[in-house]
Symmetry: C2
Subunit: 312 residues, 2 copies
């Protein structure tokens, strides 16, 4: 089954890994690049790397980002030169940023770079950046506007979010092969990623939402909010700050009109009817992926479910 | 005493370190950049780095190049992506290349970059690249022309050298402050570096040789050839291949007209008269620097000697 997943960082990468275990090369993952940035002159794509490392089986299982067993000697030396080491860059991880930067400077697209790097690491699925153009997620906080990594890593997502915008989005086209994959897909999965800063930028790329809506195949989302809390990161805090009670229902409402089905954690089973009332089918299961077996089990359940699901 | 040293890689860096121990901030080291190159999109300046790391007290004492205790995890990952890891890049060392590349891209000169990096590492002497322009030492071998690091590292200096040229030298101007330092200098020292590929490029930069000749202060060279052998690297092999018997005398002859004094290892004491016959004063001493104390002792002897020496 040809399946397209939309993913941001750690949670999305885990489900994408499960889907790769089930579908292999039939999986395409379209990944958020709104939090890409430059650091020490190197182009860093945190979500692409998290997905790529996870699908390559080399992600750090403790953090979810970075490479397992990585060291931080280069970063320590960068700090000695410059004393400004808030963004963690492992030594092995740096190789990715160095090569990506070089290939981009030589004129390759981010899509082509991503294909080359992920193939070299033995990734079977196709990873496509949401766009090859520069899009910058900007978090408007109570105090000032912050580039995403500045907000997320440097300030540890503590500033209060007032709004979010994607600078450059009006000039962004979908990454190479994204639309073709959506046209070919037999099912679409929105991974359990942050709706505001991981999934929203992907959907905001020109033509992306329309291509998803045109694809009359089952489209489902997996809730990143379980029991009113985000499994990781600022999603629940953002809901609060944007004046919405964080819940799986609130996530389903955000995707209303786009999805046919919604995967709800059993902890939130009581909310199933509220979501069904939106005309969205509901699958209640254990969505918390602690082990690699969890990822594969959840992915298999989703694949089985979407084959039975009716599209809009 | 204001002293200017000309230096290439490991041997030159050791003497420069000794001179820094004796003279501190009164030392300026003009360093070969003919073997600079780009690797994975990063600008690498092997001789500048060897001198900088040595003067900062962080050089790897076993190899002479790189940083003590460095790891090679990034390189291992680069090889996994690309399988082409002949140039050793330590993780800490990479920080230097990353920052240098960034600063150059932002429009800083190599001279300014070198000042910034070496100050951050606490180097007291002033390190000046021979030029801010791109000069590329090309080794014409029996088989083909090779960029210097390709010859030196990748081919382990095994190809037979027919000639050497410095591509771009006609457009190269001395690095920032090099001429002023030569004008201010009370003595000049050509370090025990390879005459063909470390010292010759420096002297070939427009105006450099003239500035040295105009400085009517004692100018001396330290032999990199001891007992007919190079202490490190291909100097003796190059002499052979270029049809010259490798010896301290041959080195002195190459610098004839430029130097007032020549420092000869005691192993070569018997050749002193041949060199004196060229009108060059001779200091015979132990020139092999095995320890940091050796560097300082040799540097102190040189400083004492040049204060007594008469310039041309």
């Amino acid at each position: 089954m040809n399946l397209v997943a939309l993913a941001g960082g750690v949670g999305g990468a885990k489900l994408a890994d499960g889907l790769q275990r089930v579908l292999g090369e039939d999986l395409t993952v379209i990944v958020n690049t709104g939090d890409d940035f430059e650091r020490h002159g190197l182009r860093i794509s945190p979500d692409l790397d998290t997905v790529m490392y996870t699908l390559a089986g080399i992600a750090n299982p403790e953090t979810g980002w970075g490479i397992a067993g990585d060291t931080f000697n280069s970063l320590e030396m960068l700090a000695r030169y410059r004393g400004d080491a808030w963004f963690n860059l492992g030594d092995r991880d740096l190789a990715t940023h160095i090569l990506r930067t070089q290939m981009l400077r030589e004129g390759m697209t981010l899509s082509a770079v991503t294909r080359a790097l992920s193939r070299a690491l033995g990734v079977r699925a196709t990873i496509v950046p949401m766009t090859d153009q520069a899009v910058m997620t900007i978090v408007n906080t109570d105090a000032e506007e912050l580039a995403f990594q500045e907000y997320f890593v440097h300030r540890r997502w503590q500033p209060v979010v007032k709004s979010i915008r994607f600078a450059g989005i009006e000039n962004a086209n979908p990454g190479e092969g994204a639309i073709a994959a959506l046209q070919r897909a037999e099912a679409l999965v929105i991974c359990p990623s942050n709706p505001f800063v991981s999934v929203a930028p992907i959907l905001a790329v020109r033509g992306m939402r329309a291509a998803i809506q045109r694809a009359s195949v089952p489209t489902i989302a997996v809730s990143p909010i379980v029991g009113g809390e985000a499994l990781k990161g600022p999603a629940a805090k953002m809901f609060h700050e944007l004046g919405i009670e964080p819940s799986a229902v609130a996530v389903a409402q955000r995707y209303n009109g786009l999805i046919d089905g919604f995967v709800l954690d059993q902890l939130d089973a009581a909310h199933g009817d509220e979501i069904r009332a939106l005309g969205i089918a509901v699958l209640v299961t254990d969505t918390v992926m602690k082990s690699e077996a969890d990822r594969e089990r959840l992915a298999q359940e989703i694949v089985d479910w979407v084959t039975r699901l009716h599209a809009r």
